[in-house]
Subunit: 189 residues, 2 copies
Amino acid sequence: MTGQVRDAVRTRRALLDAAARAVVVHGAGVSLDAVAREAGVSKGGLMHHYRSKDELMAALADDLFDQFARAVEDRIDPADTAPGRRLRAYVRATFDDLEKTQDAVEQTTLMATLSAFPEPARRAQERYRRWNRTLAEDGVDPQRILVVLRACDGASIAPLFEGPLGPEELAGTRSLLLALATGTGPLVG
Amino acid sequence: MTGQVRDAVRTRRALLDAAARAVVVHGAGVSLDAVAREAGVSKGGLMHHYRSKDELMAALADDLFDQFARAVEDRIDPADTAPGRRLRAYVRATFDDLEKTQDAVEQTTLMATLSAFPEPARRAQERYRRWNRTLAEDGVDPQRILVVLRACDGASIAPLFEGPLGPEELAGTRSLLLALATGTGPLVG
């Protein structure tokens, strides 16, 4: 990357992080002014990178999905050649996130708020369809994919209802879901 | 109930419904003024029933939990005497809700916002511990309870990411989870 491109990447990173914080505080009604303030830039500076609130919200959603998709790819075990290796990587990415962050409430508020905007909602649907396709190509029974994905999502929002999950509970759920993601046959007869 | 008690119950119902709507729109920063406005009463009228915002948020959380607990009890099949009857009723209550409401985004935003308040968060944790105890007493393997509860929660937030779930997908997930809630042995060997 040239220095100029590197600077632009770094600026966009800082703007998206500021936008995420501003959305959590102000909800769907967040203004570009509030995001610019949070980022410590002028509104003009922000709009040089994102020309409208819709464009910024779409970029923020894409960024969250990209980060998760990269986390899954990073966790595919190269030595693991059995069907379901990507589904197991999905479980690992989910639980690594849960062990790392104590801000499940903020993450969920952010996703819920973003999904109120048409373009982020459309992109989320597209990503989910793509996940389902990619995971199915990996040779796992669709029922197993469904239960494991739903349970991963449920574990992600559990801290909302139950407070922070303890390390033992997280480890237990992780290994249970990895085991479910390891069989290839149907889950129920 | 006397007429006076019935009126108070009806008023509280209207106030809680207004509070839920106001929290979805204004987030955690919602004011008692905004709730009173939404309910069409004076702030004094609201505070006659709920003396503070904390008290109102706690009452709102309790109300949501109570409604769900009643929905589960209502769905226990009296003819069903096999272990896991309450877990199966939990699945039915979850999916009946999902089939009925198109406002999953609002429900999740509401729960996420409420859980930012200490007292609702404490009560949510207490309720979840109670669910786990009650469901375990019903004779089902703890791993099955965990996977079914997490998958129910995941299905509840799925419309956030995937848009409204179609009737076929809902019916498929419901019967898969009912089947998982029917076995009593461990889910994985």
